[in-house]
Symmetry: C2
Subunit: 525 residues, 2 copies
């Protein structure tokens, strides 16, 4: 009851707050704050100066942290791109919103060109909900929630889109596999490696500059129209093949990956400066984070850093899911603060709704937490972090303790072929190459004393038993109450690839699909 009363008090406070901070719209009505989510691709916790990156080449992001709030304990919803992004926009775990596979146990799945599935129509995405509060929404960059027509972002609440439906892998020959299209709104305007060149040899591409201009232009237009906006800036320069534009190439101490980070940092600086110049900084909530941990498989040339954490992308160790996270909202979020709230990318859904004065949908489970009490009053709320890999609950963090119910990096077969998600790291019984079940006696780590997950607590210790008795019920209740969504990432078909996206006719860039052969997608890890 105390919790309910506290929640009520907060709800009232929030409404007062939103009203008090609101600007005035075109018609003199209070306007909720703009929302700007800066989502990085495969950027690791350790990639920013403020998170200890030794070369310290992110002055703008470091300044953003100095003027805002840093979350050292912030998590993605999955160690892989598509599920994490689906979770961000739905506020729900991938196991609920369908962004997982049942083709194998504990498999990472995403949305390559062969994928048949995508975001189900039954899911309510953030931009759609924000429409109720008058927001105009744009996605710049990578969508990754399905590339077939029914999954198009403008069918799910976005008003504008500039970017691509899939990763910028390539170049392809347009015979076995088409190059990935780039869309403006409903129609494609070209393809990567064609109208939008990426030189995989030199790493040169001006895509971040294009995405920057799209962001700046959108912000200026909405400010002029005095409409509240939601901008989802989902850029991908730090995902292999890593790229940067010419002025940034070769400028980093960290190689090409660092060049990409420097260009992103510069762009974030320009975006924040524009908000300040337009005098809307105090009415714009900005959050910076990443979709999953650094892809150590691509390191050191095209992969980032997970700082002191274990392993990287694809794994449910901290390196796979702990993310850089900075909130910035001058005049509201106090400057230079650090919040140890356990945060999740799904919280951005709930927090954004809260900023808009909206409630999460009442007809479904939402996993995201409203972070405004943490950001504005420094409150800390106990909540678990669930680490899924595909259909499997691998681990749970509660407070400082993390319990692994399953451990796996990847198979011996893959590992022997050089696929290594934990290069240079080897912790006996933890970084296992067979799927190891620990559901009865989980491996438990204290992440404060041992952020690198190197020293499991002794099963015989009082500390272990105390934690076990607290964390097991949390996992059990979660699993018992869970109604998994229909898995969307099971079926692949080469015929559904981006052969003839809408708009291809105008450009003369339609390709002929092969015969339709649905098959089970292969998810090796």
């Amino acid at each position: 009851m105390a919790a309910v009363a506290a929640a009520m008090r907060w709800r009232v406070l929030r409404v007062l707050l939103v009203l008090s901070v609101a600007g005035l719209g075109a018609k003199g009505t209070p306007q909720p704050p703009n929302i700007l989510l800066l989502l990085m691709d495969d950027m690791g916790w350790g990639d920013l100066g403020v998170y200890g990156e030794p070369s310290r080449e992110t002055p703008n992001l470091d300044r953003m942290a100095a003027e805002g709030m840093l979350f050292p304990n912030f998590y993605s919803a999955n160690p892989l791109c598509s599920p994490s992004r689906a979770a961000l926009l739905t506020g729900r775990l991938p196991i609920r919103n369908g962004f997982y596979t049942t083709n194998g146990q504990a498999r990472n799945a995403y949305t390559p060109q062969e994928i048949v599935g995508g975001i189900p129509d039954t899911e309510l995405l953030l931009p759609k909900l924000l429409k109720q509060a008058g927001y105009v929404s744009k996605i710049v960059g990578k969508w990754h929630l399905g590339h077939r027509p029914q999954f198009h972002p403008l069918k799910h609440g976005f008003d504008e889109w500039f970017g691509s439906p899939n990763c910028h892998f390539g170049p392809y020959d347009n015979r076995a596999r088409p190059n990935i299209p780039v869309y403006r709104d409903w129609e494609m305007v070209g393809r990567f490696y064609e109208e939008f060149p990426i030189n995989t040899k030199t790493g040169e591409a001006n895509l971040t500059q294009i995405y920057l201009q799209e962001a700046l232009d959108f912000i200026k237009r909405q400010q002029a129209a005095q409409r509240p906006f939601f901008l989802y800036w989902a850029i991908d320069a730090t995902h292999a093949p890593v790229y940067a534009s010419k002025p940034f190439l070769g400028t980093s101490q960290r190689g090409r990956y660092g060049d990409a980070v420097r260009e992103i940092d510069d762009s974030v600086g320009k975006i924040l400066n524009l908000l300040t110049d337009l005098r809307i900084a105090e009415n714009t909530f900005v959050f910076f984070t990443s979709d999953n941990g650094a892809a150590l498989i691509s390191a050191p040339k095209q992969g980032g850093s997970n700082g002191p954490f274990l392993c990287g992308k694809q794994t449910t160790f901290e390196g796979g899911m702990r993310e850089p996270a900075i909130a910035w909202w001058p005049g509201h979020i106090p400057a230079g603060q650090v919040s140890h709230q356990l945060g999740s990318i799904m919280d951005l859904f709930t927090t954004s709704l809260s900023l808009a004065g909206l409630e999460p949908p009442s007809d479904r489970v939402t996993d995201g937490l409203d972070l405004l009490p943490a950001m504005l009053q420094g409150q800390l709320t106990d909540r678990p972090i669930f680490y899924y890999r595909g259909n499997t609950l691998m681990a749970v963090t509660l407070g400082q303790y993390k319990a692994h119910f399953w451990t796996w990096t990847n198979s011996w077969e893959e590992f022997s072929q050089g696929v290594d998600f934990c290069p240079g790291q080897n912790i006996s019984g933890v970084t296992t190459h067979t799927q190891e079940e620990h559901t009865k006696l989980p491996l438990i780590f204290h992440l404060g004393r041992d952020p690198g997950e190197r020293y499991p607590l002794s099963f015989a210790s009082t500390e272990y038993l105390n934690v076990l008795h607290r964390i097991t019920p949390v996992a059990q209740q979660h699993q018992e109450a869970l109604v998994p969504g229909q898995p969307q990432l099971n079926v692949c078909n080469r015929a559904v690839m981006n052969w003839a996206p809408p708009g291809c006719e105008k450009l003369g860039k339609c390709l002929t699909p092969p015969e339709s052969v649905p098959e089970k997608c292969s998810w090796p890890h």
Copy 2:
């Protein structure tokens, strides 16, 4: 010639600078700045919030960095305590000043109670040199340059001492081994675990508070007397057995080690605040660093973090020798800066002399560099970092490149007994358990792209060959010109332990030494 001219210009500039910033002494003569070196014990690069420690429990040190200059590429002179400290105070590599052993190749040696040797009389220590410029010098905390009478710090230039000659290991039974004495100036005033209790079970000890008071008191006295001072605050709470005083015990998210760090952080805040309150901050140069990397062998309960770097104390990987480093001198060193100058703990010797308007001794080689151009003008000077283990040049860093001429963590025999300097880390051909020679074809890493030393450059690459041709001559010239000092850490003798230190009679605490049996010290790694 250009270099000489530049050096001349700088020398003139420095003198002008020192005069311009100088306060006025008691007699109205210009007074050089006070020098305060805060030397931590076994603290790692990754232990401060500003260096990315996830729990972020060092607000005072983070503020020191925000008001001063951070050096992310700063190195100790050795991966072990005594040699590193000897190097700091002499400005010379341990291989020159004698703080090494020839009992075995590439062995870490230090000054336990059995050690017969210590700092040679022929070495000129910083406090002795600073006397020429009128400085009063005090060491608070761990000396570690030999505990026999001839090595006493007051015989080597210090005017005051409060602290111990060796590590605070114990408790001992005073029969097989005496407890370590604590000195005030010339005489002991008690022993650890007796008059100066350390509870190894709870971790409680109030030593950091005592050392803090010693520092505050000394600063106040010198300020009152208007005499320039050199304070060497060499505290040891983060060296196992790790301790903290009661108000700090149990307050960290990082366990006992974090409690010690929090107390140190609090103490540094109090010291800096005193300088400000006394209005001498602008006339006091403060530098914070550590003697070697975190002792991962003591982790997670009593060892710190080396952030993203490989291995820890005892090794010549980055985790063994890259250190946190912050310079603070309000009004002189610009606030919030990061310098990528390759720095060494030996630079504190040369820089301190420079601040005092003095030159390093001209009759010997000094390895330290004057960092004032880096700190005051943002200059970067090319210089190598030499990584020694005992008598062996293991590695050299030049710019971003590090070449390993030898690799070794420790022996298979030790490793199989659980001695592990690289827990959870295993890089094939790099973290070797036999001494591997690579003097012809060193393993070369690019520390910007690969700070964790995981990906040696390919021997066949152009980059490798280019670096090899630059770095090999640097190592060769260094080795050819080197005249090793007489090794001081070869001979041990239980009779020389702290049985009857000066002052023991007054306290009734003299113990009877055993028969004198000199023997070769055993240095297993």
